[in-house]
Structure formats: structure tokens, C-alpha cells
């Protein structure tokens, strides 16, 4: 398989001097660099998706276009608790998680643009990137289908007695699927080091959560025999704390956990969907609770960051987006001669 050179990696924001005016609990709990890193990735997801939406609206991107608007806190907060050897099975609203796990932003654009530089070499579209080396597991479009895969990775760690954790991301509608159920149950019974991270954005396409599953998600999942909690999914620190506990528990042999991050899908299911079926009030309220802006305000009010620094971070993220897009656009479209290559893996000698 021919592979294009790797694009520039997302830059983790450099540490700031922690001589901020006022100090608060947050600053004591988190190093400023960590807070910046969280904000950086949330912002990067937001700005990258804004760019992709533009490219979709202008017809440069074909097919489907999904964004994770409002899901940045769940994606970044949860993924940031993973260690260097941990893995995650991501889905369609968690770009930030992939970036935290080291996916070069250029891959994101290259995949949307169907360029050979993407890890899928143009064979997959939009956000459906996966199998990114060791940390991001194979993607599957089948809602619920990525959870058995994450459970299997966790099983692999358990078999090898490695202190590693697998995390799976998905939405609330996923709880209705048989594959999610079987995998969550399997993980509970086998006490696998798995963390289930659910963004509850209130809708599964046009279907409100109450038409997908009844009752509180955390209560339902506790019934599987695993610790389950529900947090404000627009509060990146709340998500971080819940995920940290779950990851620690998994790593310590305590088995799987479930985390619901309550949020709102503030755009259509995809960019082709005007979400006319969603009460405007819900969307406006969701916008007001926008996790990115909210975290920015929180960082300033808590004295963790100066406003000027936020502007630097935005400029830096914007530059990364430009650079990533440019890298992707410079990557050639796949060669049709490649069409039938790589259906099978080439044999590696065993044992």
C-alpha cells in the first residue's frame, strides 16, 4: 500500500506561566498547560469543522458532512484522560478525541476530500477514519458496531495483562442497538478495561432520546453491572473528572464504566439536515451552553488564562487548520489503478 507522507501533527499548546491574576480551584486542580491543551483541542475541532462545513457548502466536499458541534467537551475531555498506550473507538462527533490521540488534522481534511494522503486512501469518506495505527481503532459506520471492537481491544489488554484501557465513543441512540448491548454486557461479565463514553445529544437523527431508550441512561447502564454516571457534557472538566475515574478504575482491574455526557446537537444530524423537527428553543439553549465558549469564559474567570492568550490560541488553531487543509489539498486524489489493491493483508510470517 502506498502511503502519502504524514501531515504535520496537531501542536499541543505550549505551557503558559501560571502567574495569572486570580487563582481558583480549577487552577489548583489542573496545571495551566493541561487546561490550555483541553481548550486547544476543543477549539481545533470547532474550527476544523467550521472549515469543512464551508468546503461542503461550496461543493468541494461531496457525500455526507457531519460535525460534532457541541460535542467537543465530551470528545476532548474523555480522550484526554487516556494514557499513551490506551486506545479508542471513535465515531462521527468526536474529532477532538482523534486529535488528542494524535491523529494529524491533515488526515481529517484528506479523508473528507477523498485524497490519497488520508489513512483510508480515499476509500472512506467524511469522518470515517480509523485504524490509525495503534491508538484509534478501525472505524465502522454501523451504529453500535464500534463497541464490540473496543471491547475486543480491552480483551486483548486483559489477556496480555497489560495496564491499558480502551474507550468507546457513541451517542445515546446507540444504546438501542444489539451490538452495543452485547458488547457492554460482555465487557461487564469479563470485567474488561473498557470505558463507554456516550454523548447524549438528545436526538438520533430525527428521533428524540425518549423514542430510542426510556429512562435515565446511567440507571439503565448500571443495570449491566458497571459503574455509570451522568455529567454535564458541555463542561469539559466534569467530563474529564468522570472519565479519569473510569479510566483509573479500568486500569486498576475494576472493569468497565459508562459515562453519559449530556449535551445537545445544535446543528442538523448532517449538514444536509435542517433539523426542522427540533424545537428552536432546545437549539438556542444548546448554543448558549456551547462548551467551547463556556470553557473560554471559565478559563478567564478562574484566572487560569488571560484573554490575550486565548486570542493567541485561536490564531494558532486557525493556522493549524489552514496548514492541514493545505496539506490535504496538496495530496493527490487516489489513482484508479489502486482500486483493487489491498483487499487482503499481505502475509506476515507466523509464528
Amino acid at each position: 500500500m502506498t502511503r502519502a507522507p504524514r501531515p504535520p501533527r496537531a501542536k499541543a499548546a505550549r505551557t503558559v506561566s501560571s502567574t495569572a491574576p486570580r487563582k481558583s480551584g480549577v487552577v489548583r486542580e489542573f496545571a495551566p498547560a493541561d487546561l490550555e491543551r483541553l481548550y486547544h483541542y476543543m477549539l481545533l475541532q470547532r474550527l476544523a469543522e467550521e472549515r469543512v462545513v464551508k468546503l461542503y457548502q461550496t461543493g468541494t466536499i461531496v457525500g455526507a458532512c457531519f460535525t460534532g458541534w457541541g460535542h467537543e467537551a465530551v470528545a476532548v475531555g474523555a480522550a484526554s484522560t487516556l494514557g499513551p498506550d490506551d486506545v479508542a473507538a471513535t465515531l462521527h462527533r468526536d474529532l477532538g478525541a482523534r486529535l488528542v490521540l494524535g491523529m494529524p488534522l491533515g488526515y481529517y481534511f484528506a479523508n473528507f476530500l477523498g485524497r490519497s494522503g488520508s489513512p483510508t486512501r480515499g476509500r472512506e469518506g467524511n469522518l470515517h477514519i480509523g485504524g490509525l495505527g495503534p491508538r484509534i481503532l478501525l472505524h465502522t459506520d454501523f451504529i453500535g458496531g464500534n463497541v464490540p471492537i473496543a471491547a475486543g481491544a480491552a480483551l486483548g489488554f486483559a489477556v496480555r495483562k497489560e495496564p491499558r484501557v480502551a474507550m468507546a465513543f457513541f451517542g445515546e441512540g446507540t444504546l438501542a442497538t444489539g451490538e452495543f448491548h452485547e458488547a457492554a454486557n460482555l465487557a461487564a461479565v469479563l470485567r474488561l478495561p473498557l470505558v463507554l463514553v456516550c454523548w447524549n445529544n438528545q436526538f438520533a437523527l430525527s428521533t428524540p432520546v425518549a423514542r430510542e431508550v426510556l429512562g435515565p441512561l446511567d440507571v439503565r447502564m448500571a443495570g449491566y453491572g458497571m459503574p455509570a454516571c451522568s455529567v454535564d457534557g458541555n463542561d469539559v472538566l466534569a467530563v474529564y473528572r468522570a472519565a479519569r475515574d473510569a479510566v483509573d478504575r479500568a486500569r486498576g482491574g475494576g472493569g468497565p464504566s459508562f459515562i453519559e455526557g449530556r449535551t445537545m446537537r445544535v446543528r442538523g444530524h448532517s449538514e444536509a439536515d435542517d433539523a426542522a423537527y427540533v424545537p428552536r428553543a432546545l437549539i438556542e439553549e444548546g448554543r448558549r451552553r456551547d462548551p467551547v465558549g463556556r470553557f473560554a469564559r471559565h478559563l478567564i474567570e478562574s484566572g487560569a488564562l488571560r484573554a490575550a492568550r486565548l486570542d493567541d490560541l485561536r490564531a494558532q488553531a486557525q493556522a493549524e487548520v489552514d496548514e492541514a487543509q493545505a496539506w490535504a489539498e496538496a495530496s493527490p486524489p487516489p489513482d484508479p489503478a489502486e482500486l483493487e489493491r489491498g483487499v487482503y493483508c499481505e502475509a506476515t510470517p507466523w509464528p
Binding site: 467524511n126 459506520d141 486524489p333 487516489p334
Partner: protein, 324 residues
């Protein structure tokens, strides 16, 4: 006669059936309030109400299984798969439960599963598949795939009328690209009958779905070179109209099979094997097949274009066979 798109014709057939019989119900993901991802059931909720236009959770296996149960107690459910690809989640209920009911227990399961399939819309590996190859092997199922608006409506009505489980394949790329005259009312198009789309004497092209249109285009080109191609639209893939197929093949003595689905184990294999065995002495050339390659469906336009059998490839196949 009203002129409709392929999508409107499917909806029209479904609507007519629901008006004719209260036991016809629609169920699937986002079919109600949203009207389906392709808006095919738009307005159905208002006309027929939530008891007959049923939004379900994301549960393909339970949706198809529930359709079986509902059919057993007298409904005629029409299930919508949001995309044909996702039917693999309901494989057990399709091939092992619904399809075997009649044979095992004499229980009739009149149900239709609509599956928006096919490539050409940049959907990538899981929103572009042709799935007939997976179901063609199953006893007890019927499979239809219309290529025109008139057939889209007529076959939908016949599928609903049939007492067996019917997999109704609708090609996404034809939804709005195909327009044509459609009869009003309960205009049935019986299952199990292929349609002659173009008469010819030099060779027979057997095809279905989106490929019908590419084959007709290729046949026109061939005509310009003096090759008279007969083009047959299978329409019902299971059970096949072997009579019509064999009659034409025996007459022209040359057969080209064209389908969008992958080659290995595709419908073309069975048709070629069948004709090869039964028309051995009357064939003047090897039965040839043109199809997609044996790979998943790629997303990037240059790959997807190369993946789909093109008019050029079909024309070359026709020319080669005619000259054989």
C-alpha cells in the same frame, strides 16, 4: 398518465397500498416525523397516523423481526432500512426466520423490506452496497429491483401483495434521476417477469437496476456500429424469469450479463452457470460477465467511478461478444 420520479413512484405505490388496506404499515428509523432520510415517506405520518407510520429505535434486527411477528398476526408491514448496507444487522431475521417460515411451519410472512442500495452517491463502503448477492442464495425470499418509475410503483404493489417476504431494492442514484409515466391507482407489475427493454438479434444483455440504463446507452452505441443488442431488465431477481432469459439467449446465442454488484458469487454467476448448462449446444460465444470488482465500494469519486461498470466497458463487452 402522471410523470413521476423513481422515488415518487415508490412512494405512490406504498401510499396506494396503505389507502387500500389498513393492515399495510410502515416501520423503520426516522420514517415518520422525518419522512425517511430520502424523504420517501414524507407526508405519510400526516395521512396515516403514528399507528401505521412507526418510528423505531436503531434496531434493524428487532425491526425486521417485529415485521415478521406483525405479519404473522395479519399485518402487511413495509420496513425501511435507512441504507441497504445496514440490513446485515438483520441477517438472521431475514434469511433464517422470515424466509424459512413457510417451509418450516407453513406460516405466511407477507412483508416487504425496502433497501436503498447502490453506489454513485459518494456514500463510501457502508452507504453504497449492492446486497442482492447475500440474499439470492436464500430459499423463501423474493427479491425485486426496479429500474423505471412505472416498475418502481408496480413492483412495490406486487411486493406488498405477495404472501412472502420480499426484499425491495431501490437504487439511490435512480431516485431523482429517473422520471417517467406512472399509472394511477393499484397498478400492479407482477413479480417474476423480466422486461424486454430493447429488442436485438446479435446478442442478449441481461441486467437490472441502475445498469439497465447504462446497458441501453451502450446498446445504442453498438447499434451505430451495426450490432443489434437485446437488453433484458430482470426486475425480479428472485425468483428469476428463467424462461424469458433462456428464450432470448437461445435466440441470440450470445449472452452478456451486467450487474453493479461484485463479480464473485454475484447473480451473474448463477445465470451464467444455468444457461451454460442448459443451452450448451446453442451458444456461439462464452457467456460473459461485467460487474464491479471484488472490493468494498470506495468513496473518492475517481475510485467510485472506476468501481462502477461504465458505458464504455459495457460497450466493449458487447462489441467483443458480437465479434466473437
Amino acid at each position: 398518465m402522471a410523470v413521476m420520479t423513481y422515488l415518487e413512484a415508490i412512494a405512490d405505490g406504498l401510499r396506494e397500498a396503505m389507502r387500500a388496506d389498513p393492515s399495510v404499515v410502515v416501520l423503520g428509523e426516522d420514517v415518520g416525523v422525518y419522512g425517511g432520510v430520502f424523504k420517501l415517506t414524507k407526508g405519510f405520518l400526516d395521512e396515516f397516523g403514528p399507528a401505521r407510520v412507526i418510528d423505531t429505535p436503531i434496531s434493524e434486527a428487532a425491526i425486521v423481526g417485529a415485521a415478521v411477528g406483525a405479519a404473522l398476526v395479519g399485518l402487511r408491514p413495509v420496513v425501511e432500512m435507512q441504507f441497504a448496507d445496514f440490513i446485515s444487522n438483520a441477517f438472521t431475521q431475514m434469511v433464517n426466520v422470515a424466509a424459512t417460515s413457510a417451509y418450516r411451519a407453513g406460516g405466511c410472512v407477507p412483508m416487504v423490506v425496502r433497501a436503498p442500495c447502490g453506489a454513485g452517491t459518494h456514500g463510501g463502503p457502508f452507504h453504497s452496497q449492492s446486497i442482492e448477492g447475500y440474499f439470492f442464495h436464500t430459499p423463501g425470499l423474493k427479491i425485486v429491483m426496479p429500474s423505471t418509475p412505472a416498475d418502481a410503483k408496480g413492483l412495490m404493489l406486487a411486493a406488498i401483495a405477495d404472501p412472502n417476504p420480499v426484499l425491495y431494492l431501490e437504487h439511490k442514484a435512480l431516485y431523482r434521476s429517473q422520471r417517467g409515466p406512472v399509472e394511477a391507482g393499484l397498478a400492479f407489475e407482477p413479480l417474476g417477469r423480466a422486461a424486454l427493454r430493447r429488442a436485438g438479434t446479435h446478442l442478449t444483455v441481461l441486467t437490472y437496476g441502475m445498469m439497465v440504463h447504462r446497458c441501453l446507452e451502450a446498446a445504442e452505441r453498438a447499434a451505430a456500429e451495426g450490432i443489434e443488442t437485446e437488453v433484458i431488465d430482470l426486475r425480479t431477481l428472485l425468483p428469476l424469469d428463467l424462461e424469458t432469459i433462456a428464450e432470448s439467449a437461445a435466440r441470440t446465442s450470445r449472452v452478456l450479463i451486467v450487474h453493479e454488484d461484485r463479480l464473485r458469487g454475484g447473480l451473474g454467476a448463477e445465470i451464467a452457470a444455468h444457461l451454460g448448462e442448459h443451452l450448451f449446444t446453442s451458444l456461439d460465444a462464452p457467456i460473459s460477465r461485467i460487474s464491479a470488482p471484488d472490493t468494498p465500494v470506495p468513496y473518492a469519486p475517481p475510485l467510485e467511478t472506476a468501481y462502477l461498470p461504465s458505458v464504455d466497458r459495457i460497450f466493449d463487452g458487447i462489441a467483443r461478444l458480437a465479434r466473437w
